[in-house]
């Protein structure tokens, strides 16, 4: 091994924080790389980019990113990011967090930021459970899935996140899996260029907490599953894109519209002469 070799994303990674905490076969490393690659390709000034998370395995992403980054309390990434954006509208603010963080404990903030069309780039890694705390079920866990708190199968209906984002007012809504590296990267790039509240859901393997209990195999087996079962359907009604444990995964870009953001609509402050 050549020890002088540097990672192609080196300037965007905090190498001093490595090794990372993620399990073997986890999709997070790939998702993280897609974000870095998108940032790299976008040509945006990293100094004007900020990444914010809540708590969780996904929440570790900002800690490894060599741009301004924040690890906020569980569920509060969006309000924290809202503050950042409003105080310094020049910044491109990405929220990179887990399904539980953004939609269970923090769900309220998601719908309100989308409604207001705050200019935030939301990337949600959906691994169908609370990975960090050891695999309990949450608001995205498919019916029948086994987790540490649903040992005989989950009996709560899950959210369809893309439908929720669209219904709440997001101007851009897409879903990819960790396998769709190029499409996901392009999608993230597109949201960087787009004004308003954007949402990308990444379906991602969590072999250690979720996969194991649902006999989904190793991380690689889940990737194969994505390959065989993903169906790209751009522009369909997100209503029709719900997910279940062993079914097809509808991916694609579902919404891409324009409307004024919160700041666009805000009456200009009157400065006294």
């Amino acid at each position: 091994m050549n020890h002088n070799e540097v990672h192609p994303m080196d300037r965007l990674i905090r190498a001093d924080r490595m090794p990372h905490i993620w399990c073997p076969g986890c999709g997070l490393g790939t998702n993280f790389t897609c974000f870095l690659e998108a940032l790299n390709q976008s040509g945006l000034d990293p100094d004007k980019n900020v990444i914010v998370s809540g708590i969780g395995c996904t929440g570790r992403v900002p800690g490894y990113t060599n741009i301004d980054s924040y690890h906020t309390t569980h569920g509060r990434a969006i309000p924290f990011a809202t503050g950042l954006k409003l105080a310094n509208p020049e910044l491109t603010v990405t929220v990179f967090s887990g399904d539980g963080d953004l939609f269970a404990i923090g769900g309220n903030h998601f719908i309100h930021a989308a409604r207001r069309n705050i200019d935030l780039k939301i990337i949600c890694v959906n691994n169908f459970n609370y990975g960090m705390t050891g695999g309990q079920f949450g608001c995205t866990t498919p019916l029948g899935a086994k987790t540490t708190t649903s040992p005989y199968g989950n009996y709560e209906h899950p959210f369809n996140l893309v439908q929720m984002a669209a219904a709440s007012g997001a101007v851009y809504v897409a879903r990819w899996t960790s396998l769709h590296v190029r499409r996901l990267t392009n999608s993230i790039k597109e949201t960087f260029a787009k004004k308003g509240f954007t949402f990308i859901e990444i379906i991602s393997p969590c072999p250690v907490s979720f996969g194991r209990r649902n006999k989904l195999g190793e991380g690689l087996d889940e990737m194969k599953y994505y390959q065989e079962n993903s169906v790209i359907k751009h522009g369909i009604d997100p209503n029709e894109a719900d997910l279940n444990l062993n079914g097809k995964i509808i991916v694609g870009k579902f919404i891409d519209i324009d409307k004024p953001t919160f700041l666009d609509n805000q009456p200009k402050l009157q400065t006294p002469d």
């Binding site: 690890h71 309390t73 569920g75 705390t133 309990q136 540490t148 708190t149 649903s150 040992p151 005989y152």
Partner: protein
């Protein structure tokens, strides 16, 4: 007495205590290091080993709200949390004690962010000392199990009707394994009858619960809440006695004195560190040094009488705080000191702050504290608040 010992962690011991207490509704959100408790409970409910409903709610705020709702119709309820999750419940904790709903919860003591830390100290629960909950701190897994059962009997007592928080040290107690005696269900049923309260909604007696007060009556509500908390002192004693008669384990009510009979110098502490202090006490006793331990079990209601009684008999008291009230001193110390100030005698005091964010408190640390107390008395040193085993430069 027949025992049925199994090798389980503190979190599992809590789950066993909850199962035996037969709550109707459990609502919780997972957080390290409490998770194993809620995982076991959800298994027990799904496997039909327990009759109650288990709700895996979407946050701690929902957890405490759901348990209050269930309690308002007269159900027995349980929730569990830790650290950030406990703090996120804070609004509900006050609401619950004000509503006089005897919810029982387990708190896995863990540090509070920032900096982020999953490891143990007492800053979470001690910062909520004023939320109107009875707070007990346990020293091992057996005590955790037993205190869950006792907690229902104390909290639901008609003269108390106050929620109760059973605190156990994160990881040190929640994740270590011990042989724990699991009482028989029949005996627990005899000890802990079904929850009965006049303070509930029913078809027969519809009630408006949770409404506003005016300046003319708010103080009276708070006065009664305070009285109920004081009433708990007698109830705690009776329940512990009855528990001892039934199950053969006694926890010495509000505090436990360890080798304090003729002690000159005593350390006061909460929770698992008491186990380490006992070992140091034995060692120093063997060397002829008259040291002792006061294990505070209840922080609310506070064992004022017991602290005063001890202070009258000793020369020096050191208080270990795994917390700090910034800009002043440790919270346990403030409480202990307030009790001591009410006696007519000078006692040398010192506050040792440390063990924060999971740092071990070693036998050497404790021995040094005892020695500092001896020299403090001898040299008539100034009393102070000291951070121990500190790795940064200080002004001293």
């Amino acid at each position: 007495m027949k025992t049925n010992k199994i090798f389980i962690s503190g979190d599992e011991a809590v789950a066993q205590g909850v199962r035996l207490s037969r709550p109707h509704v459990i609502a919780a959100y997972p957080i390290t290091p409490q998770t194993i408790t809620v995982e076991r409970l959800s298994e027990m409910v799904e496997a039909g080993e327990m009759d109650g409903e288990y709700m895996h709610v979407e946050s701690e705020h929902s957890a405490i709200s759901a348990t209050m709702g269930a309690s308002a119709v007269g159900a027995r309820t349980f929730t569990a949390s830790s650290s950030q999750g406990l703090l996120y419940m804070a609004e509900g904790l006050h609401y619950c004690s004000g509503g006089r709903w005897p919810v029982v919860m387990m708190n896995a003591n863990r540090s509070v962010a920032l900096p982020w830390s999953i490891y143990g100290d007492h800053r979470d629960s001690l910062s909520l000392l004023d939320c109107g909950w009875i707070q007990v701190y346990v020293e091992d897994a057996q005590e955790a199990l037993d205190m869950i059962i006792q907690a229902y009997k104390i909290a639901e007592h008609k003269d108390v009707l106050t929620p109760m928080m059973v605190n156990l040290d994160g990881f040190i107690l929640t994740h270590t394994y011990e042989l724990v005696d699991i009482p028989e269900q029949k005996m627990v049923d005899e000890f802990l009858p079904a929850f009965e309260t006049p303070n509930k909604m029913s078809f027969e007696e519809p009630k408006n619960l949770g409404f506003s007060s005016k300046p003319d009556d708010n103080t009276e509500f708070k006065y009664q809440q305070n009285e109920a908390m004081f009433n708990a002192i007698d109830v705690i004693r009776d329940v512990d006695q009855e528990f001892a008669e039934k199950f053969g384990r006694k926890y010495h009510d509000m505090v436990e004195e360890y080798r304090c009979e003729d002690a000159e110098v005593v350390l006061v502490a909460l929770g698992s560190v008491c186990g380490t202090i006992r070992v140091v006490v034995d060692k120093m006793r063997a060397e002829g040094k008259k040291v002792g331990l006061l294990k505070i079990r209840y922080m609310r209601p506070f064992p004022e009488a017991e602290v005063k009684d001890l202070a009258r008999r000793v020369n020096a008291i050191g208080v270990i705080d795994k917390d700090i009230s910034f800009g002043y001193e440790g919270t346990v110390y403030t409480n202990v000191n307030s009790a001591i100030s009410k006696i007519d005698k000078y006692v040398y005091k010192s506050n040792f702050v440390g063990g924060l964010g999971g740092r071990d408190i070693t036998k050497a640390d404790i021995e040094e504290m005892f020695n500092k107390l001896f020299s403090g008395v001898e040299n008539k040193s100034e009393e102070k608040v000291e951070f121990f085993s500190l790795n940064v430069e200080t002004n001293d």
